[in-house]
Symmetry: C2
Subunit: 252 residues, 2 copies
DNA sequence: TTGTTACACAGGTCATACCTTTGCTGATTT
DNA sequence: AAATCAGCAAAGGTATGACCTGTGTAACAA
């Protein structure tokens, strides 16, 4: 019934299409225009205050006014631009952007401003995940507590074996499950962004070849505290995990 | 140059239009349709899985296909719906909504599910504001540090005088300034939501007639720690403020 | 110089038409 | 009877053109 929309933030592991179907699903035209424009704005190529007209868009992207308008409306709803009669479409000041929109985050991660986005996201993780761990300790279901424990054990196994790829997947699963177990739907919505941060860490080689034993220990501690319903311990154990992340990223 | 879009989350104090212009600025048609539909979905009136067609929208709201499509696109970009040929427009599962979109938050606060939204937001505050305070202690500018201290002093004055209205305004200014000083643009974007939570607390009478002395003390402590650049103290002092908020809201 | 008016520019909204995908139905085949 | 396939039609996707309505700007008048 419900389906994830194509424009959502991609998690690290993508659903692959039917193996029989070799063709890449061509994204709808309006999404391509949206992505192109969004990236242009986010990258600074179209600076704040820059004025466009619908006609510009139509010509630049070879689309009809309908699509130009569609795109503009979505961008406007993200507060990346505003439109006024007789003026045109104006790029907004970045201060006003809806920086929690997954599309926007995706564009920023694809831009040259990548590093800033990562540190913002990391600081957000530092803030949210401990509280999420505490929430999970209070409100997670029995199955979730079990799965969390199992994932922590798997993390140790994969970590000690040095299987970074699989470790990453399990790590994402761990943090994602935690966010989903904490009973706060706003925290849930951050799972894609957390996954993005985690996988970038591995891809960029910021990860030690083998995860540090303290990190493995801390994940187990979080899982155990959540399983035991000990919110305070879960929170501080998660804090330990993120302390390591913070130092790894060179944040203060 | 840059202007705040009409559909943004309203802060507690609205800019009033020219005094000479008595008429309320009539919101654009597409915004009215968007709000109506958004509220209908968020309130559960249009349940997840419910199917609509563009024609339904055209007739229900007496608008052209263009506007029906505009609205649909924006809703789709918020992941409230998805649209497929031959099927129509389908309301998404709430799990997939972009719950950080200010419009969505506004709709949820206007719905009967208000309480859930408030507790989610409060938990988010509990997570973010201490880290924001620490960030401000590290990165705020000199002016911001001064203003923060001044606001804390004003909070004490207004609080002891029992001027709840003015106290609320100063309180919002304090927390908003903190979020803006912390150097994380994602935290900045939460200012409207924090303001919303704060004003609702006062409006709903959840606020003691006079703010508790501990709260005033804690605000001053935050300001002082930020002014002194003491991140750890700022963080824990902010934690104290939010502990009080938590108990006031009956959260665990 | 300053205030006013008129114009044209650009989005806002509407109506219509045609294209493309796809769920469904029913006939055909095994 | 079950499985497969073809064709229809429903619904969004895209394009076009027209007209309406604010609103900068510049020409003009005081």
């Amino acid at each position: 019934m419900a389906q994830r929309e194509a424009s959502q933030m991609s998690t690290a592991t993508e659903d692959h299409a039917d193996a029989t179907d070799g063709e890449a699903a061509v994204p709808a035209l309006h999404l391509r225009v949206l992505d192109a424009l969004g990236e242009a704005i986010v990258s600074g190529e179209l600076a704040p205050g820059r004025r466009l007209t619908l006609e510009d868009l139509q010509q630049h992207y070879n689309v009809s006014r309908t699509l130009a308008r569609d795109t503009m409306r979505v961008l406007e709803s993200m507060n990346l631009v505003y439109s006024r009669r007789r003026v045109g479409i104006v790029v907004q000041d970045p201060e006003l952007w809806n920086v929690f929109d997954p599309k926007l985050v995706r564009w920023r991660l694809a831009s040259s401003r990548r590093a800033e986005q990562y540190s913002s996201l990391t600081e957000l993780r530092i803030a949210v995940e401990p509280i999420a761990a505490a929430g999970a300790a209070r409100r997670a279901g029995a199955t979730e507590r079990r799965q969390l424990t199992a994932l922590a054990a798997e993390l140790r196994r994969l970590g000690e074996a040095g299987e970074l790829e699989e470790f990453l997947k399990a790590d994402i699963a761990f943090h994602s499950l935690l966010l989903h177990s904490c009973g706060n739907e706003m925290f849930k919505a951050l799972d894609g962004m957390v996954a993005e941060v985690l996988s970038s860490r591995t891809k960029q080689g910021l990860m030690p070849f083998k995860p540090r034993p303290e990190a493995l220990q801390a994940h187990e501690a979080v899982a155990a505290a959540v399983a035991a319903g000990d919110a305070g311990t879960a929170e501080s154990a998660m804090h330990h995990i993120l302390d390591e992340v913070r130092t790894a990223m060179g944040l203060p």
